[in-house]
């Protein structure tokens, strides 16, 4: 079993000639054998973070450690071997499989990526992988276009497992699938975690799905993790106003129309260059709701644990007052920043 540590990781892009910090000094730990969920809306940087961890986009700063071994301190060949341990499964299985290769060829190539094997051994390994993701062995001869979306996603998972990784990063793996199929993929992930002892970083925009699979959840907004805590605690008593808005927005069967905190939509990408809290222009409890809270626009809130339940980056963090909260709702507490 292996743990993944992300420390102060930053990723910068050029957008329309201006620098954009897509991931801004994010720290995150996936303890060995556990599932950490990462939730956020489009543009929050969650996919970029995943790509930076596996080396698909260069990091502008920070460290990635696999079992306390710093990737940046390794030689190129050591790093290549270490990276094998972290595999990424993509959102769209029709785009993540080479349309000109059969399922068998795709898996065999992955099996042979890090060890030299004979034809017979490779064939056996491919069959084992198909068994692992509950696919018929005969599908090895099929091309991706002949499979359903769910089957393709299983192949993509099998390919990631082919190099026997200890950490799996799942980037929106159920978003492109139909509801009935997505459930089966989540079940598969549960089983694999148990049987293979995988550590999983599970990324999704769907808070309900993230809560279901994860032990701990990080909420991302504008390139930063703004709240982090155990899944139940975060969903039951969210402290960051953004998390509360996200929770309110989750559609629920049989609830009908309900009163909820709503926020205005972001109009530009300038959110990354704001001073202070990046959420403050949209925040339902921020300076635009309460003019006395000028701090939000000037001081950058740090991750703290005011309630000792979990970490939140908000000057006025408090548990949600209504609905999902089972704890007593405390009044807003003005805290002095620990700087």
């Amino acid at each position: 079993m292996t743990a993944l540590d992300v420390e102060d990781l930053s990723v910068r892009f050029q957008a329309n000639g201006r620098p954009l910090v897509a991931v801004d000094r994010v720290s995150l730990r996936v303890p060995s054998g556990s599932v950490v969920g990462l939730v956020g809306e489009s543009g929050s940087g969650k996919s970029t973070l995943a790509r930076a961890v596996v080396g698909l986009v260069p990091a502008a700063g920070g460290r990635v450690r696999i079992d306390d071994a710093d990737l940046a301190a390794m030689s190129a060949s050591e790093r290549r071997r270490a990276r094998r341990q972290v595999q990424l499964v993509f959102q769209d299985p029709s785009g993540s499989l080479n349309p000109r290769m059969t399922v068998g060829a795709t898996l065999a190539e992955a099996v042979g990526a890090h060890e030299r094997l004979g034809r017979g051994e490779r064939h056996d390994k491919v069959s084992e992988l198909l068994d692992l993701v509950s696919l018929d062995r005969r599908l090895a001869a099929s091309y991706p276009r002949e499979l359903s979306g769910g089957q393709r996603q299983r192949v993509a998972i099998a390919r990631a497992l082919a190099v026997r990784p200890s950490i799996l990063i799942c980037d929106e793996i159920t978003s492109a699938l139909d509801a009935s199929v997505a459930g089966a993929i989540l079940n598969l992930l549960r089983d694999l975690r148990r049987t293979l002892g995988l550590s999983i970083l599970f990324i999704s925009h769907n808070l309900a799905v993230v809560r279901y699979v994860s032990d701990e959840i990080g909420v991302m907004y504008a390139g930063r993790v703004v709240e982090f805590g155990s899944a139940e605690s975060l969903v039951r008593s969210p402290e960051h106003p953004y998390t509360q808005v996200l929770l309110d927005a989750v559609p629920r069967v049989g609830r009908g129309d309900h009163e909820s905190r709503e926020i205005d939509e972001q109009e530009s990408l300038d959110v990354h260059s704001l001073t202070g809290c990046r959420f403050h222009p949209r925040c339902p409890v921020g300076p635009f709701a309460d003019p006395s809270r000028t701090r939000c626009a000037s001081e950058d809130p740090q991750m703290e644990a005011p309630s000792h339940r979990h970490l939140a980056a908000c000057h006025y963090a408090r548990p949600a007052g209504s609905g999902t909260d089972t704890n007593s709702s405390s009044p807003p507490v003005d805290r002095t920043p620990s700087r």
Binding site: L56, S134, L186
Partner: protein, 639 residues
């Protein structure tokens, strides 16, 4: 093997057939001509020097009295071989150069790209001539010159294609696996770009024939005693006013060969880029409806309904008989009512909504027993009146806001044209109305928005504009097809609220198509669940949580985790996959995936039965009861 069939179909076009025949003829000629006419082409005939056409020498003779027709035919081999070799040299250099950026590091790949840009700036033929002069006269030099000159075009093509493939997820996955760049290039990138490159090679042979003839004509290519068409033309041109037929042979040969290779390349390119229907669509008659399609009973159809649909069927011509994605659907939407259509991909929900709006794409055929929109059947109206009715009373909202607004037009134009066309409103009135509508969808500073382009707005704002466009008329029915599926959850809530508000303000009904049953209950009063082209359940949104009757609806509810789902229990999953629309099994289409199915389910289609009290409709032989939350794991199979 569909691809091969397509290629064959495209080659059956007149241009394709003619080009293919000529190219085949040229190849045969290139092989046999030197064997048959080689002797004749070499034989000097001293009494007949520089003659014009005669019975013995149809195209005349050259300065040594050799037969020009025979020489033209024999020259086919050298001309073709030179052209093809030149193209191959160009393709090999070009593809290698173009593929390098994907294998090299950032700096080296930038340098390569700059080199390609630099060389592309030179006209190919000039470059070839320059190189031929530098490399010296002769066939080898000509091949190299022409090859090098054509390489930049191949390099640019390869570079562009490779860059698009290199950005795909499967290449990213291969790189995460730790595969070498060389292997990624050979296994993942090149096979996926081979097709367009091969097409371009074919077309390039045509150009190379012309270019090579040009070089030989200028005395830079083939040197005597060898000869190709260009060389023959060079030798005959100074006699063009005396014996024009002498120049005719090589001229015609060059033109025909050039056109044939171009034509073949173009035909192949068309085959690759378009899907040619293998079966000509036949207009289906109402009688063509398959026997197993039955009309569903619908108790909720009242006289004041905004929309009444009875027995709606959509048929597409297929390879093995008609495909029926929508199979005899009946439902109605009362005035002001919000109805959700829930189904997975392939359930026919979108096609059904397009059929209601008379927007089913060719060659689909819509048949319906009864369609009533605001009391009239649009099909009974003259087309101008029908367009006005649908244009002003029906609003459509689609999922992809980026494509349903014209990116080149300002929002003001797109909003006001609706009323200008259908209600012949004056410009100023239309603009005033547009501002009002934008305000009603709660967009800030509407006057400013009118001058903006779609790309200046975020996805949620664009969706508001699309809804505002629908509100420019007097909509009585809003059909919204997955309007929030590409939006963030916080924005989704706002759009749902807006749709609800639009209904409350205008009294318009709403038909809301979605794959997400939870979202459906958020907005709608009633939920219709579709499976394989049929409605399997029609239920009040409020009753959904207390227990739908159809096993499919129940499985859908149980398959999606919500914020209260027990994390220690596996989710219910539906085994198998939805049936292929081209081969929907007899009986209940869900039977193969249903844990309650009996023999009867596989044979007899369950009718959509109505509960007289609640007007809850369900099509199942074994309807279930009770809350869904109690359902635990059935079995996990490959889906």
């Amino acid at each position: 093997m569909a691809r091969r069939g397509q290629t064959r179909a495209a080659l059956r076009t007149p241009v394709g057939v003619v080009s293919l025949v000529i190219v085949a003829g040229l190849v045969i000629l290139a092989i046999v001509a030197p064997i048959i006419w080689g002797e004749e082409a070499r034989t000097t005939d001293v009494p007949h020097l520089l003659e014009g056409g005669s019975a013995e020498h149809p195209l005349g003779t050259d300065n040594l009295g050799r037969d020009l027709l025979a020489r033209t035919l024999v020259a086919t081999r050298l001309s073709l071989v030179l052209a093809i070799l030149a193209v191959l040299v160009g393709a090999v250099i070009g593809v290698t150069l173009g593929a390098l950026p994907t294998v090299l590091g950032t700096r080296a790949s930038r340098a390569t790209a700059a080199l390609i840009d630099f060389t592309l700036a030179y006209p190919g033929l000039l470059l070839a001539m320059f190189l031929a002069v530098v490399l010296g006269a002769g066939p080898l030099a000509a091949i190299l010159a022409l090859g090098i000159a054509s390489a930049p075009a191949f390099a640019r093509l390869t570079q562009t294609l490779a860059a698009s493939i290199a950005g795909s997820d499967f290449v990213a996955a291969a790189s995460v696996l730790g595969l070498s760049r060389r292997r990624i290039l050979l296994r993942h990138i090149l096979p996926n770009i081979a097709e367009p490159i091969i097409l371009n090679v074919t077309i390039a042979v045509g150009y190379a024939l012309l270019a090579m003839s040009g070089l030989s004509f200028l005395g830079l290519g083939i040197q005597p005693p060898s000869y190709d068409w260009g060389r023959l033309l060079n030798e005959s041109l100074d006699r063009i006013y005396v014996t024009p037929e002498a120049a005719l042979g090589p001229c015609v040969a060059i033109v025909i060969a050039g056109l044939a290779f171009n034509g073949l390349g173009e035909a192949l390119a068309r085959a690759a880029s378009t899907r040619v229907p293998r079966h000509r669509p036949q207009p289906a008659m109402a009688e063509d409806r398959p026997d197993d399609v039955t009309t569903e009973p619908d108790p909720s159809a009242t006289s004041d309904a905004a929309l009444v649909v009875k027995g709606l069927t959509v048929t597409f011509p297929g390879e093995d008989g008609p495909i029926v994605p929508v199979r005899g659907i009946s439902f109605s939407v009362a005035a002001g009512e919000r109805v959700a259509i829930v189904g997975e991909s392939g359930s026919g929900k979108t096609l059904m909504s397009l059929a209601v709006a008379q927007l089913v794409p060719h060659p689909g055929v819509v048949t319906v027993d009864r369609l009533s929109f605001l009391g009239t059947d649009p099909n009974d109206l003259p087309s101008a009146e029908r367009d006005r009715l649908l244009g002003t009373s029906l609003a459509m909202v689609f999922q992809d806001t980026a494509t349903c607004l014209n990116p080149a037009l300002r929002l003001g134009v797109q909003l006001s044209e609706v009323v200008e066309v259908h209600q012949r409103a004056r410009r100023t009135d239309a603009v005033r109305r547009a501002v009002d509508r934008l305000r009603s969808v709660r967009l800030s500073s509407p006057e400013r928005r009118l001058r903006q382009f779609p790309h200046e707005l975020s996805g949620g704002m664009r969706q508001r504009v699309v809804i505002a466009v629908g509100l420019m008329g007097e909509p009585r029915l809003v059909i919204a097809d997955e309007p929030t599926s590409s939006l963030d959850v916080t924005v989704q809530r706002q759009i749902l609220r807006l749709l609800r508000q639009v209904g409350d303000d205008t009294g318009a009904s709403c038909l809301f198509i979605t794959h997400d049953i939870a979202v459906a209950t958020d907005l709608c009063d009633r939920v219709l669940v579709m499976y394989a082209g049929r409605i399997v359940e029609d239920i009040d949104a409020a009753s959904l949580w207390d227990g739908p009757a159809h096993p499919y609806t129940r499985a859908l509810l149980a398959a999606v985790p919500d914020l209260e789902t027990d994390r220690t229990v596996a989710l219910t999953s539906i085994p198998g996959r939805p049936p292929d629309v081209a081969a929907i099994p007899p009986g209940c289409a869900f039977a193969a995936r249903c844990s309650f199915a009996t023999d009867r389910c596989h044979v007899e289609i369950p009718p959509l039965q109505v509960d007289a009290e609640t007007s809850h409709r369900v099509a199942c032989w074994h309807p279930q009861q009770g809350r869904v939350a109690t359902i635990t794991r059935t079995k996990v199979e490959a889906t």
